[in-house]
Symmetry: C2
Subunit: 143 residues, 2 copies
DNA sequence: GGAAATCAGACTAAATTAGTTGGAATTGAG
DNA sequence: CTCAATTCCAACTAATTTAGTCTGATTTCC
């Protein structure tokens, strides 16, 4: 039940963009440097976020990426869905009501559903602004 | 953030054993048949549950496995930890306080911690008896 | 003694995740 | 006008994890 590096790097990038919200676009190279990861890899992740319309790209020199909406209007759940496709821990409890013929007699399903709803609760309730704020507080503490 | 088949098959087996609690040991072959999966594979999972002392094995003919404790005294969290090693979605929020040097400035960590505690809440609070009961209700409905 | 079972562990196959590579298209700055 | 900085696109490779098989030894009831 691990979280992928995709999700972690991507989410962190969104939070980093949130701290620059309202300013100039930020290049992927800058975002990659902040996290100490490969620019090419992060580019891929950022592209997925753009496809989901969470980010807006500005092409050409001095270009980069910006949040499409205010940090308080983007939830962590949206970001993870853009990066991982779904937040479902198991197909049979996903959004797209995948029809499992045993759904009626499966003893584990009620648990997976319960767990899933708790998870989605946290994810859909936490915004990027919440995360950016936590970050700022922690940064201040460590200085 | 998927749940492995290991976890699903193993947990289901524990629930199946719960419905026989107090009776004779149940052979892996019988458990495997109930789920329609390979006996050899399930044997592996059951062995992990035995190592964690959740199940007790009875060797020899007429042998099999039994729950070591009453269904209401085994939590889903224990079962998953036995099968998957941990329930941590990411090392840095696991039990074994893995020391990440960036813990102080990592903007994502508070989220992972929050999510992790919700997840553990559900898992440690749901017992095998709860699951077995859900199963019985569902079975009755579908008959 | 033989059949039914656990127990043990190495092995293989499949799938997923992580990351790289190469290059085309766009655009601001000089 | 041209060049450097950048997004954008897609196919490729490598690494890791998960799923599942195979073989065989050991124990114990009948």
């Amino acid at each position: 039940m691990k979280i992928s590096t995709r999700a972690r790097y991507g989410l962190k990038a969104v939070v980093d963009l949130a701290t620059q919200y309202g300013g100039d676009p930020v290049a992927v190279s800058a975002l990659a440097q902040m996290q100490g990861i490969s620019e090419a890899y992060l580019e891929q992740l950022v592209a997925a976020l753009k496809r989901a319309k969470l980010l807006t790209g500005v092409r050409g020199a001095q270009g980069g990426y910006m949040l499409s909406r205010a940090p308080e209007e983007i939830t962590v759940g949206e970001v993870l869905r853009a990066l991982e496709g779904t937040t479902a821990i198991y197909e049979c409890v996903g959004d797209e009501s995948f029809g499992c013929e045993n759904a009626g007699t499966c003893s584990a399903r009620p648990l997976w559903l319960k767990l899933q709803s708790k998870i989605d609760g946290v994810l859909n309730d936490t915004t990027i602004k919440d995360m950016a704020d936590d970050y700022t507080i922690q940064k201040r503490r460590s200085e």
